[in-house]
Structure formats: C-alpha cells, structure tokens
Symmetry: C2
Subunit: 203 residues, 2 copies
C-alpha cells in the first residue's frame, strides 16, 4: 500500500520484489493456461513469460494447482470450501456441496464475477481450462477424497447438473429456478447429485 | 430453384410472391424476437418490419409459435419430435425424450448449428428467447400434455439438466460424458429426468 519502491532494474529483468511482480505472474499464468491449457503449461514457462525465476512463482502462489485457482479469478478458493464437504463424510455430501455452492453464488457481491467466469469458460480457451484445470484440480479430488468409485466418471456428470443449474438459475434466470430459496434448490437437486456421486454406475 | 421471377415492384413494397419474401420475414422475426423477446413481438410488427402484409406471415409460417420455431433455425421442429414422447404416456417418457434429443444432437450434421444456437441463447437477447420462447412454446406444453403436475415448475428443472448435458457433452466436450454411447447417456440421465418430471415436488 505505502510501498514506494516501484523502481525496476535496467533491461528486461525486473526486481523480484517489485509490487507488480505478483500481477505479472498471474497475467502470464492466465494467458498461458488459456492458450495452452493447464496440462501443457509449466511453472517454468509461466516464469519465463513473466520474466522471473520459477522459485518466485512458487513463493507467491505455491503449487501449480494453487496458481491455477488464483488465475481463475474466483472470489473464493473452492478447494477450501469443498474440504468441509469432504470432512463430514458421504452422508449428506451433496447437500453440503450445494449449500456451499449457493452461499457463494447467491451472494450479490460474487454473482457477477462468477457469471463472467462462467461465460468465459464457454469460450474455446476457457473450455480447456474447465476440461484440463477445474475438473482435475478441484472436482475430481473432491470425489476422490469422498471415496466415490470412479470419480473421473462421476464428477463430470455432477458438473453437468451444477453447470446447468448455474445456467438456469443465474445466467438465464429462468423462473421458478431463479427465485427458489436455498432450501428449495437443495430439496430439488441434492438427491440427484447424491445419486450421481454414490448410486451404482450403469453398465 | 429455377424461378427467375426475382423482380420487385416499385417503391418500398415487395411483390408478395418474390422468392426472398420468406427469408425477409424470417430475418425480421429473428431480429425482433432477439431484440424484444417473444412475448413483446407481434406478427403485425414482424410483417411491418419485413414490409409485407401480416396475412403473408401466416401464409408462410402459420402461427407466431410456428414462426418462433422456424426463427430458432434448428434443423428439426422439436414439437413434432416431442409429440412422440407424449403419445406413449408417462412410463419411460424421460428415456424417449432423451433418445430423441440424442438422435438430433449426436448427428454430426446438426451438431454445429445447434452449438451455435446454444451459444446464442446465452447472449442477453438469446436468454429472452429461451425464457419467453422455447420454454413456454415447446417445453411447458410437453409437460402439460404428459400430464405432469406443475409443468411450469418441473420443465425449467428438466431444462437445467438438459442444458448442462449439452454444455458438458457437446460444447465443452468433457470426458467421459462426451464419448458416452446413447445407451450410457440414457442410463445415467433418464432416471433423473423421470424424477424431475414425476416425483412428488418438495415442500
């Protein structure tokens, strides 16, 4: 805030501690994740693009997974929220997941940036972020930690209902789904999501 | 095709039988439905925009509902397909609906125009077409004819899963949903859609 040290060293390199270094790394991460996808983007490549040492990327953001979540620009870390889903076991897991989801999306402060994120996920680069990033980094680990069988099959099915709910409740605002109370949303969707998580898989 | 009568009468009016009249009406319908929504667009306004008599709109397209379906530019009339869902009663209705849906969307010829339509539905004008057009013109009548209670509540919930399935299977192409066989999609989703149609409503 009151840091006045905004000077840069000569030439291409930047001072490691310059206040905009974090933002530069984040910007490079977003560009590269969007252009190449999560799997094909290394921390080394992000560091090179930002003109910093890879150790500085880890210093600011932790792991590549952490950096991905930061690059998503969502107002909360979904992994922390979803940890509470996991900690209480399988019973009622879908309901807890939905209530956390609604707590974030129903908050007017978060709604618009999240709708922006949802729209950007439908663009070609965003699709890759969903496919190669959000799913393997966030959703599938939740399924694994819940102990579901075949999380790589079940979590995309869960995603298909949650994304459809986002579309209808928040993006298109179809009534009556748009105005349902949290309890009504839970009563409508939690049994289905619980089924997607735990019912025997067909075939 | 071999019609060479492309002449126009003098001034603003067009010859009623000119080969582009149908296309002009359709173009006006799309613009006005998109700009004002289905409910606020009259056949009279569409005719005026196209510079033709309203009777000509009815001549080419039938009712305003029919014109809306034509303006959607989808390769099939969903109402005809869905009639077969209705005719065989409530048992297995969701499975029949899904198989018709898959027959259209899984066809490579239809896929791309439909994805284009899906994307345009997410734009502000498209959202109104979904909210004020597709739902009341197509989906809710299917629910009514199936004899479900509260179709105005149930069909938007059905839409939330079907739109999410479109998003995941076709738009984002998340595996394994993108590569599931039709039978696997039916086994996964039909019981849930049947529940959304017919299970007792919560609260």
């Amino acid at each position: 805030m009151s840091n006045t040290d905004t000077g840069r060293s000569a030439g291409r390199g930047r001072r490691p501690g310059a206040p905009d270094t974090r933002a530069e790394i984040l910007s490079s991460a977003r560009s590269l994740f969007a252009a190449r996808g999560f799997g094909s983007t290394s921390v080394r490549a992000i560091a090179a693009d930002a003109g910093v040492d890879p150790s500085l990327v880890h210093h600011y953001f932790g792991t590549k997974d952490d950096l991905f979540v930061a690059a998503l620009e969502i107002p909360v870390d979904p992994r922390e929220l979803l940890a509470t889903v996991v900690d209480e076991g399988q019973d009622g897991a879908a309901e807890r997941m939905l209530r956390i989801f609604l707590g974030v999306w129903d908050d007017p402060q978060h709604r618009l940036p999240l709708i922006g994120l949802f729209r950007s996920l439908l663009e070609p680069a965003g699709e890759r972020m969903l496919r190669e990033g959000f799913l393997p980094v966030v959703l599938i680990p939740v399924g694994e930690r819940l102990g579901v069988d075949h999380p790589e099959v079940r979590m995309p099915v869960v995603a298909s209902q949650v994304l459809g709910l986002i579309l209808v409740r928040y993006v298109v605002a179809l009534e009556p789904v748009a105005s349902m109370s949290a309890d009504q949303v839970v009563a409508t969707y939690a049994p289905v999501l619980q089924r997607y998580l735990f019912a025997p898989l067909p075939g």
